[in-house]
């Protein structure tokens, strides 16, 4: 397993995901600068970390989605390579056309950082195979623009094709109401591509890999990648 973490100007959770890959997936990723045009040879997994790429100016993820390195990331995805976008990484994935939809401002128009329960809807991806189907996990969210929206047809396709991977829920796994922190359509917290090799998610599993720091419910994602 070889992974590359893309660093954009304004990325700020790259060290968090590097630590999680080290702890959970058991390997040391390489950092790739946004202005580069190629991924290191033999890259299996590309990670787009959280942060405020290019200050999130214009629109979150919009400038990063058009950065030089993204052509290489699109080519990697087209070959079936794994791509994981977390938070700002998810926003970049939708802006780069690798995933459908858009992340709007949170329903309450405020940034939210808190612990949040998620339901693991599908375990038939390289990212979630270590979880049990329907498992409820608790991870962190930290975003101002995590309100997932797409047109009806896109939402229907995502649901029909089993591409909603994580949904916001409460501790008992119930969705809707206050369990949805940001107003996302269908409580969507994470989706994958048609080929199931590109995952975008707003929550931060990379911050939940140690008992000392909040818990280990995020480890499953990185353990899944160890097996990939």
């Amino acid at each position: 397993m070889k992974s590359a973490v893309i660093v954009f100007p304004g990325s700020n959770r790259e060290q968090d995901v590097i630590r999680a890959l080290r702890v959970g997936a058991g390997h040391e990723p390489v950092k790739v600068w946004h202005a580069d045009t190629e991924l290191p040879a033999g890259t299996d997994l590309v990670v787009l970390p959280g942060g405020f790429s290019y200050g999130d100016y214009l629109r979150c993820g919009a400038i990063a989605g058009r950065a030089a390195i993204m052509d290489a990331v699109r080519a990697h995805a087209a070959r079936g390579g794994l791509v994981l976008g977390i938070c700002n990484g998810f926003q970049i994935l939708v802006e780069s056309g690798l995933l459908p939809g858009i992340l709007m401002r949170n329903r309450d128009l405020r940034f939210i950082c808190r612990m949040q329960h998620l339901k693991v809807e599908r375990t038939d991806t390289a990212f979630t195979r270590a979880y049990a189907p329907g498992q409820v996990i608790e991870v962190a969210i930290a975003h101002g623009e995590g309100n997932y929206e797409a047109d009806e047809e896109t939402i229907r396709r995502l649901e029909d094709e089993g591409r909603v991977i994580f949904r916001y829920c409460d501790a008992e796994g119930r969705v809707g109401g206050k369990a949805n922190p940001n107003g996302s359509t269908h409580d969507i917290a994470g989706i994958c591509s048609e080929g199931r090799n590109v995952l975008g998610m707003m929550p931060h599993p990379e911050n939940l890999v140690e008992d000392l720091v909040g818990g280990v419910d995020g480890l499953g994602l990185f353990r899944s990648l160890r097996a990939a």
């Binding site: 100007p9 060290q15 968090d16 942060g51 999130d56 940034f111 950082c113 101002g144 000392l212 720091v213």
Partner: protein, 741 residues
């Protein structure tokens, strides 16, 4: 002699915030009339904010050294040794005046400024905290100010990528016209790789780094040195605009540059921008500085020397570079897309020379700009100590349980979740104790060390008795760090007061400093950095004296710490420290009885130390995991917080010999902690406490889903939680929205 295009009139001098006698001092110093640019430079260097002219005399009395202090006050931030070759760099600074005028931008630039102070010294910021004071919740501006300040702090810190892990928020009508925004940043660096502002070497290039210079913030430091009136809104153009993205790039570029060995001196451009940073670098190094302003990267065309020298545009740095490594340094900044320009060089003349397109705009003696700044021993009068309010003399207006439910839902004591959930407190993956505890705990790198940090002050105590209030602010910071198992090491102080030209205000300032000094000495808790904010006054009404203390402590193994939540049912609850039932200046007396009066609880520093060392020892030897310090609201509020956090109740009774009920439950006697342990462990702890001369008493047992105080009816944790959690979100939503829902 420099030709002067603008006549210096008394009005112009006054507009620059300089008093007539201060202008006379300038004339005597330079032997001629200053140019407009020079007048601007003097106004920047000699205002209260930069020169500390009213406070210097008193700040000198504070203890600033200890074997673990690497750098005390006088640099961008304080530096302490935390072992294993690592250092902790930290400071707190106010951004009060700008935040009142433009809350979002005022708060963001406050956070940006303090983060810059920390990474200027070569440290990577690992945590941010803040202490906020707003006016009465009923004041028409308060909601708007809370929303703007909180969004601004989050907007900057979240984007920059530092966890905001703790702080304090309070409300009082005395802040109606002057809110307080005190921001603290904590960073870590290698102890032998700290960078300072002192320039060395003649003919070395002065390099300008970061964002371009605009017309924003001109006279910001002068604004921060004057009282407000009804026209304060007109000062909006003096508030700077923050760009956290640029700061993040500046951080990465600076830290990368520092690894190359090319940085000789570095100073961030904060208050008074280019003027202050250039003068400080030269003066500290006994060197002159010559600037050529046509090379300064500008955002706007046609900027004058005067504007460039006084601009407070954000995210800018000034460095003295090793000329041999200039190209390498430039490449790093270009990579990060930041401006890099050589704007001058060091000289051996001890003059501060400013040229613009070859024209001489200023030529001043560089040392005297700082050293000869006015120094005032302002008249000060000590306030008469208020009378003690004996607990027995107060008739409680309601039952203990009802008073407790009210108190946990008051603006000062309610949950601040609505605030800290807007701050990313988890980024970097090292936040061991999140907001809501006694002190935040942040792991250092991959461990095992951790840092405990907190911001504390009780302004109503400082108003009633400045010396006790100053002592209490330090003692509470020390106690909060102790309560999580940390060894308190040093503090940064952010002294917010009213108009120092009023002897009563100055008297409280002097009293608080005395109290802070006494406590810091007694607790081995030196002051290593700080900031003074005076003139927090609007239309003649000053703020409560608010000397915020930011404390930092070390935890050797971050796994070994305590938190305040009850964790296990059936544990014995022990109250450590002496309970006399002091109700004067308590929140119970104020918010339940409607009486804001009396003397604050006295602080016995020897007892603080004895009790605290005892409790820390229990945590460090892994014998207790649940500890909470007692502060606002006393024992009852502390127990409620422990029950709410752990969702486990308790049954507690006053021991024999306890003071009158409301004094026992709500008195705010100092040097106290609540802890829990198994029955057998608690018995051993009681015996050891007695041997150590530490007052300790068993007061109850954890368990159930309610808190039972004495023989009153149980109060369900749910009821407490609703009162505690609902006040702030309901207040911020506004009465109209609540009514409509």
């Amino acid at each position: 002699m420099i030709p002067n295009s603008v006549a210096v009139t008394p009005e112009l001098v006054a507009e620059h915030g300089l008093k007539p006698d201060e202008y006379e001092r300038i004339l005597a110093l330079i032997g001629r009339e200053p140019t407009l640019t020079e007048l601007g430079i003097f106004s920047a260097m000699w205002n209260e904010h930069c020169s500390y002219k009213s406070s210097r005399l008193h700040l000198k009395t504070l203890p600033t050294s200890a074997p673990w202090v690497i750098q005390g006050p006088g640099e961008n931030a304080g530096v302490i040794d935390i072992g294993d070759g690592m250092a902790c760099v930290f400071k707190m600074e106010s951004h009060n005046h700008p935040s009142f005028i433009e809350p979002y931008q005022g708060a963001t630039t406050g956070v940006g400024g303090i983060l810059r102070d920390v990474f200027t010294m070569g440290a990577r910021p690992i945590a941010a905290l803040n202490a906020l004071r707003f006016g009465s919740p009923d004041h028409p501006k308060t909601r708007h100010l809370v929303a703007g300040v909180v969004a601004g702090i989050g907007g900057y810190g979240n984007s920059f990528g530092v966890p905001t892990v703790g702080g304090q928020t309070g409300f009082h009508t005395r802040y109606d016209g002057n809110i307080l925004v005190n921001a603290m940043a904590v960073g870590i660096a290698k102890a032998d790789e700290i960078f300072y502002a002192k320039a060395t070497g003649v003919g070395n290039p002065i390099v300008y780094l970061g964002s371009k210079t605009g017309r924003d913030g001109i006279h910001g430091a002068s604004m921060a040195s004057a009282a407000f009136d009804d026209k304060s809104e007109e000062k909006r153009p003096t508030v700077q605009v923050g760009d956290p993205f640029a700061e993040k790039l500046l951080l990465e570029a600076c830290l990368e540059l520092m690894t190359t060995g090319s940085v000789i001196a570095i100073q961030d451009m904060g208050a008074a921008g280019l003027t202050c940073s250039a003068v400080e670098m030269g003066a500290k190094g006994d060197l002159g500085i010559e600037l050529h302003l046509e090379n300064v990267p500008c955002r706007e065309e046609g900027m004058t020397a005067y504007e460039m020298m006084l601009s407070e545009s954000q995210e800018r740095m000034l460095m003295v570079l090793d000329p041999a490594k200039e190209k390498q340094a430039e490449a790093i900044f270009r990579k990060w897309g930041l401006d890099f320009a050589i704007v001058g060089y060091t000289t051996d003349t001890l003059r501060f020379v400013v040229k613009h397109h070859g024209e001489l705009m200023a030529d001043l003696p560089i040392k005297e700009l700082g050293d000869e700044a006015p120094l005032y021993d302002r008249p000060h009068v000590a306030s008469a100590p208020p009378a003690v309010v004996p607990a027995e003399s107060v008739v409680p207006p309601m039952a203990t349980g009802d008073a407790l439910v009210r108190l946990v839902g008051t603006p000062d004591l309610c949950s601040k979740r609505w605030i800290w959930e807007q701050y990313d407190h988890l980024i970097l993956g090292n936040t061991v104790q999140k907001p809501g505890g006694d002190a935040a705990i942040v792991r250092v790198l991959d461990g095992p060390k951790g840092l405990a940090m907190t911001c504390d002050v009780t302004p109503r105590y400082c108003e009633a008795d400045p010396v006790e209030g100053g002592r209490q602010a330090v003692a509470e910071a020390w106690r909060n760090i102790t309560a999580v198992g940390g060894l308190p090491l040093a503090v940064t102080d952010n002294l917010n007061f009213g108009n120092p030209e009023r002897p009563q205000v100055m008297g409280r300032f002097v009293g608080c400093i005395r109290g802070i000094g006494e406590a810091c000495r007694a607790l081995d808790f030196p002051v290593v950095s700080g900031n003074v904010s005076l003139y927090n006054e609007t239309n003649g009404v000053g703020i409560l004296p608010t000397p915020t203390i930011g404390g930092v402590g070390i935890i050797d193994d971050v796994h070994v710490h305590a938190t305040l939540a009850f964790k296990v049912e059936g544990e014995t609850i022990v109250l450590v420290g002496e309970t006399k039932g002091h109700v004067g200046q308590s929140v119970w007396l104020r918010d339940v009885c409607g009486r804001e009066e009396g003397s604050p609880p006295p602080v016995d520093l020897a007892a603080e130390r004895r009790n605290g060392d005892f409790v820390r020892g229990l945590i460090r030897s892994k014998r207790v995991k649940t500890v909470h310090d007692l502060s606002d609201g006393g024992l009852a509020v502390a127990l409620a917080e422990m029950a709410m956090a752990g969702r486990i109740g308790a049954k507690v009774t006053a021991p024999a010999g306890a003071p009158v009920a409301h004094g026992f439950w709500f008195g705010e006697d100092q040097a106290r902690y609540v802890l829990t342990a198994s029955k057998a462990e608690a018995e051993r702890i009681m015996a050891e406490a007695e041997a150590a001369g530490v007052p300790a008493v068993v007061i109850g047992t954890t368990g159930g889903d309610a808190l039972t105080l004495g023989d009153e009816a149980p109060i369900s944790i749910d009821k407490l939680r609703r009162a505690h959690e609902d006040w702030l979100p309901h207040y911020m939503t506004g009465p109209e929205a609540i009514a409509a829902a």
